[in-house]
Symmetry: C2
Subunit: 418 residues, 2 copies
């Protein structure tokens, strides 16, 4: 029989495999009918992998295309496509150059043509060209001012969309009515299409009026050109685009559930929208474990063996000076709650293979994790307080180390109970 | 058709009814065979109600008995029983007087006799007599010192049990081998019998050695009498006692689930061990609601209509100066997350009918709660930050006000989704 740790690692492997850009693009394109002569436009940190997968799949149907990704994220030539690299997380002049090349390409299209538009995280910085009449420096200055007066992310995005030639649906307007097949690799919880890469082919809900009100609210210093740009409205409808979201945290959870089911655990996805404090989720998972292990279990509780699954991205409010990441902190908090409970495993990891400033993707704990830490002379509760989960989990041999996975669709958090 | 709010209130009513002391005692005693001539000993805040229910049920079988409850918690005479009232949350001289009367009563018993021992929350303070040779003042002084040096609750209880003539299994030792039928109304999460009312008829796991080590660890100033008392060991086995736990938070959740099921919601008890930060649970329930309302719902998610049920007791770390309670804070946080989501209701309340220093038991929110608050010119996010949930929920007409319910088995937290 497999150990539960074996099962956990199988679930991790299969879930991540399902959301690799190649797999995700393959799944999405299988439901789309792409015409001969289509062009590929790929933007974001996963642009190269997405474009490679699309080109491999669509082959001779593709007449031309451009990949715009982050520095050092290209992995070589892709036949028939041009590759540009640019700045991230802050846009730079190469962002503007790559974006201009893309706009040149699509400006030659007609309503008989098609675009395979491959979108991944990081697209907001990489795919950027200031609206005519303003400069990137002017945009950076406004953004800096908004950040320093603690404007909300919604407010910052409202202003930035109105200053961009491609964000907030404007890219779609440049395509002359060519049909856009958008394949979106989602790294934002809830898959909000207006937020992923700032929604270049998605109608913008924010208005020019709102953008100007934000400038007024924070009393920002802006140039006359910026003020003029903000008065131009973004598209409120985009008719020429079909979108498939793929490789999202939902698919990560779904693949984990399917794998757990194949391993004979009853899977339950509680939510793929989790944004709680990391240790609170660890603590909560501990309380689920206690319920599952109660002597007189209710008929209304999950039947074991079961896999309770969460997706999303937890947060850590740092108090201490230790080493760790949100996933490691979550499982350390869980370990304290499930101390000495048998046949329970809790794991949490970032699907990109990284968790905080560490070489681990996350952690995996059981009822004996705490005693292993104590045997190594560690104090788990103090280490949790000091945000030092890495060293606690290192001592109990409970770190999950995958290396970079090549995808980035938030975190997977699972409780297995037999 | 019922509105979801009607359903929610029905669930609240039925769940609380199931854990009223009368019902709980009735259920527990139905599984016990009590001999003629048994005596009743009832301690705790619910002692009067429990004793009344037991006397009504067992009638002439009861030969004698004593009720020891908090001031103003007696509701009149109960035929054949003596009633004492004493201090809570701090024990006073009347605690010692009442406890002495109980010990006098049981000291006359033999191994042919039986005791119906009814235990409820508050028993630690109400049922207290210092071990021979020490005074209540000496105990209070040690407890004060432990509190001021931030000793853990486990440490405080270890010391207090060793200083008491009745805690930590010692009450059972006074009964001369008479059979004790203990009926425990649990107000402690996880129903730890050694903790409820300090476990008067339950073997003590803590040792004299541990108690002395705690005195040393915190360098406490104690009298010679206290030191002597700490050297006496508490019982490590209690042979003459059967215990039934009743009216616990598990039964609260179970009754909520059964009622929800009768109203055609699929009920799921996630956990009856919840001790998280209140607003984190509210936020998390919001993320479950989003999953249930997702366009392409997973087959592995709960089928709607459903009732997701939690029991336990959340906590609030106060930052602001507003008015509220943990249940009100929880639902305000949830309301922010479910804004504009239809057919979802989230409620949370204290089963005793009180929540923080307010006249409400908790709150009940839906997708329109936030807009009702905003219409009343309230800022829900700011009010949550200021721990001012009461005034936010008052504005949206979302307070749950039950008045004192007569029971106290932690909180019930439910999400209904159609």
């Amino acid at each position: 029989m497999n150990t539960m740790r074996d099962d956990a690692h199988k679930i991790i492997d299969e879930a991540i495999r399902a959301v690799l850009p190649e797999k995700a693009v393959e799944r999405a394109l299988s439901s789309m009918h792409v015409k001969n002569g289509a062009v590929i436009v790929a933007i974001g940190k996963a642009a190269w992998n997405m474009a490679k997968a699309a080109k491999d799949l669509l082959g001779a149907k593709i007449s031309d295309g451009i990949v715009l990704t982050k520095y050092h994220h290209s992995k070589g030539d892709i036949e028939g496509l041009k590759i540009f690299e640019a700045g991230h997380p802050l846009p730079d002049q190469n962002s503007v150059i790559g974006t201009s090349k893309i706009l040149e390409l699509v400006s030659q299209l007609t309503s008989d043509d098609e675009v395979v538009f491959l979108v991944s995280g990081g697209g907001s910085a990489l795919f950027e060209k200031p609206l005519h009449g303003i400069t990137l420096n002017e945009i950076v200055s406004v953004t800096d001012q908004l950040l320093s007066c603690a404007a909300s992310i919604v407010e910052i995005n409202t202003v930035r969309k109105h200053l961009s030639a491609v964000k907030g649906g404007r890219f779609a307007s440049h395509c002359n009515g060519a049909k856009i097949h958008a394949v979106v690799l989602s790294d934002v919880i809830g898959d909000p299409l207006n937020a992923i890469a700032s929604g270049p082919a998605y109608p913008d809900q924010s208005t020019s009026e709102e953008a100007l009100a934000i400038i007024k609210k924070y009393d920002l210093q802006i140039t006359e050109n910026i003020r003029k740009a903000l008065q131009e409205e973004t598209p409120k409808a985009v008719e020429n685009c079909d979108t498939v979201i793929t490789g999202s945290v939902s698919e990560l959870c779904e693949a984990a559930a399917a794998t757990a089911s194949a391993l004979n655990y009853h899977p339950h996805i509680l939510s793929s929208f989790v944004e709680n404090e990391a240790k609170e989720i660890g603590h909560f998972f501990g309380s689920i474990a206690k319920e599952l292990k109660k002597v007189n279990k209710s008929q209304y509780t999950f039947q074991t063996p079961c896999a309770i699954i969460l997706g999303g991205e937890t947060v850590v409010h740092l108090k201490g000076k230790g080493k760790g990441g949100r996933n490691q902190e979550l499982v350390l908090a869980a370990a304290i709650e499930i101390e000495n409970i048998d046949d329970v495993i809790i794991f949490s990891l970032g699907s990109d293979g990284t968790d905080g400033p560490t070489d681990a993707a996350g952690g995996i704990v059981d009822g004996q994790s705490i005693s292993r830490m104590k045997s190594a002379c560690k104090n788990p509760a103090l280490m949790l307080d000091n945000n030092d989960a890495y060293h606690a989990l290192e001592a109990s041999n409970d770190l999950v180390i995958t290396g970079p996975t090549g995808t980035n669709v938030n975190d997977l958090i699972v409780l297995l109970c037999r």
